[in-house]
């Protein structure tokens, strides 16, 4: 009983409960058919949202106004860069991955540079940056139809006993991010800055350095995501990252991270990502039209956030 109460007090539990609920609804509808397949599919798709979600979480935790809106453009450009550098050959996989990571890292660093040097609110800085990145991507990726190397495409689709390998690696990555957030100087600094950046600065935390690192981290994860998506969907595409603008923010907040900053939660990102993917699966099994699917998705997101409620005001 105490354990249950303790569990319910965790901010991330709601997203997992939500995921379980929509899965049960979908399975009930199909009469148990495809129950395992749904989980496998959900795991493979949730991975991509989790990767960018973790980056977005660290950014949002920096405090009000901090958000990375350049992720979709970043993912699009990195997917094109990865495919171009890999050039369909297995021996160049590592090179292509490194190029995509470097591309994302450069975008993250540029975002921070805009925020810091021009004192622009992060929302506008990353938004303006994303316009420019989008243009670069359109002109760089024009007519680009390079397939990923077979080895890379197979790796991103690889499963062991119906568990996607990428999901296992991403789960380990999430554990790492959780440790970084809870026990490492970096994670504690991010939370401290989010709670009160002036107090953090007075306490001797290198605020600007941490912010720089956080935006660069988010950019790098976006780049990684771009390469993996291009492998999974067998090809790069300007629009490949579009859905991750809303998805990356949604999973962070549904997962129990405070939008006001200073309070982050990694497990919730996994729960929320699974919830969003399974929600889509459920609505698809119900066979509803695109319009109704969107309306229900929206209403359920609003419903979940209303039920979970906001942070209790302490002051």
């Amino acid at each position: 009983m105490a354990l249950a109460r303790n569990l319910l007090a965790q901010p991330w539990i709601w997203s997992f409960l939500g995921a379980l609920l929509v899965w049960l609804a979908a399975v009930t509808f199909t009469g148990g058919y495809g129950a395992g397949g749904m989980i496998t599919a959900a795991l493979s798709l949730a991975v991509f949202t989790v990767i960018v979600g973790v980056g977005q979480m660290f950014v949002i935790t920096l405090g009000p106004g901090n958000v990375d809106l350049s992720l979709p453009a970043n993912i699009g450009l990195a997917s094109a860069v990865a495919m171009k550098v890999m050039d369909g050959s297995d021996i160049r996989i590592a090179l292509g991955l490194a190029a995509a990571l470097a591309c994302g890292m450069a975008i993250g660093a540029a975002n921070y540079l805009l925020i810091w040097a021009l004192r622009i609110p992060p929302i506008i800085a990353t938004l303006s940056a994303s316009f420019i990145i989008q243009s670069i991507d359109i002109s760089y990726g024009r007519g680009l139809q390079i397939k990923p190397p077979p080895g890379f495409a197979n790796f991103t689709n690889l499963q062991i006993h119906n568990v996607p390998v990428l999901a296992i690696i991403t789960a380990l990555f999430a554990v790492g991010a959780s440790v970084a957030l809870r026990s490492m100087i970096y994670g504690r600094s991010v939370s401290a800055i989010g709670q009160n950046s002036r107090a953090a600065w007075l306490a001797g935390i290198p605020v600007e350095k941490i912010r720089f690192f956080t935006y660069t981290l988010s950019g790098t994860l976006g780049g990684l995501n771009g390469a993996l998506l291009a492998g999974y969907f067998r090809g790069a595409n300007v629009d490949i990252g579009n859905e991750y603008l809303l998805a990356s923010i949604a999973v962070v907040v549904i997962g129990g991270t405070s939008v006001a900053g200073g309070k982050a939660n990694v497990p919730g990102i996994w729960g929320a990502a699974l919830f969003l993917v399974l929600l889509l699966t459920m609505l698809n099994t119900f066979g509803v039209s695109a319009g109704i699917r969107l309306v229900l998705t929206g209403l359920i997101i609003v419903g979940v956030i209303t039920a979970a409620g906001g942070p209790k005001v302490l002051r």
Binding site: G298, I305, G310
Partner: protein, 325 residues
Amino acid sequence: MNSVSAHRIVRLPVLGSTNFRRLLRTMLPAISLALILIAIAWLNPRAISYFGFNLMLNLAIPIALATLAQMFVITGNELDLSIGTFVGFVGCVTATWLREAPLFGAIVLVGSVGVYAGLGALIHLRNIPSIVVTLGMSFVWQGLAILLLPKPGGSAPDWLLTLMALKPPIVPLPIVLAVIIAIVAQVGLMNSSYGAVLRGSGGNPVAIERAGWSRLRIKVTLFTLAGIFGVLSGMALIGITTSADANIGNGYTLLSIAGVILGGGEFVGGRVSPIGAVIGALTLALAASPLLTFMHIPPDWQVGANGAILIVVLAARSLISRRES
């Protein structure tokens, strides 16, 4: 020696005073708009005419209205990520129901403003982040728009077409409308006593509450205003494009945020400027295509040029404000 004295002159009262910088900062949105107009006039003098402005600023009115809707939400320290799809939804209602069954269409539009008011109440009562609620609502509006108009089509009511095609003497319609909208919003929010309370709720909500104002009522008012301006934006848009499409407003979410900030608004603290927001929207509308077309920038780079213009204007503003402080 010379350089030193020159330096001193710049720092002398008239040019270097805080008041001057504050004025400069207030004027910055107007200055950016003027610069863009000058650039257009230089690149294509024929564009600066009654007909030219009519064409170039055609889409500025719906953008300005959506920007003001976003501004009201930002006044209360919230953000509306659904305004774009809401404008699209209103557009679809305008092009279908409002034409075929005007009364029913009007009821739906009033009801959608009611939904906005309800969102304001929900956000306040449950103390939940507006970003997520409006994110969810953006799916809802988009879904409803697709249900209503699965394929692009419909057509605007005749009275709306006539209204948006008016040709007033001397000054083109978009400019007339922009001035009216800006003045109405400016007087309502900046010069009325309840307007001050609304802005105060963004600056110091606790103080406003202790002074006896209901924060619930304030939030509902701000979201209702956002809903009303969103409806006007969607209707104006359809009056210009004559037919609708479920995705017609999607770009407006980010444009409206950029417009508020370009116009001198800030995300927190209730520091907004209605006139600035309208000017910011006009700047974005002009910079978006006419200027870039005249500069022969290839289509691939037009979005990027837009981003660059945003960055330049904001850089100029931060340069001025940093000196100010």
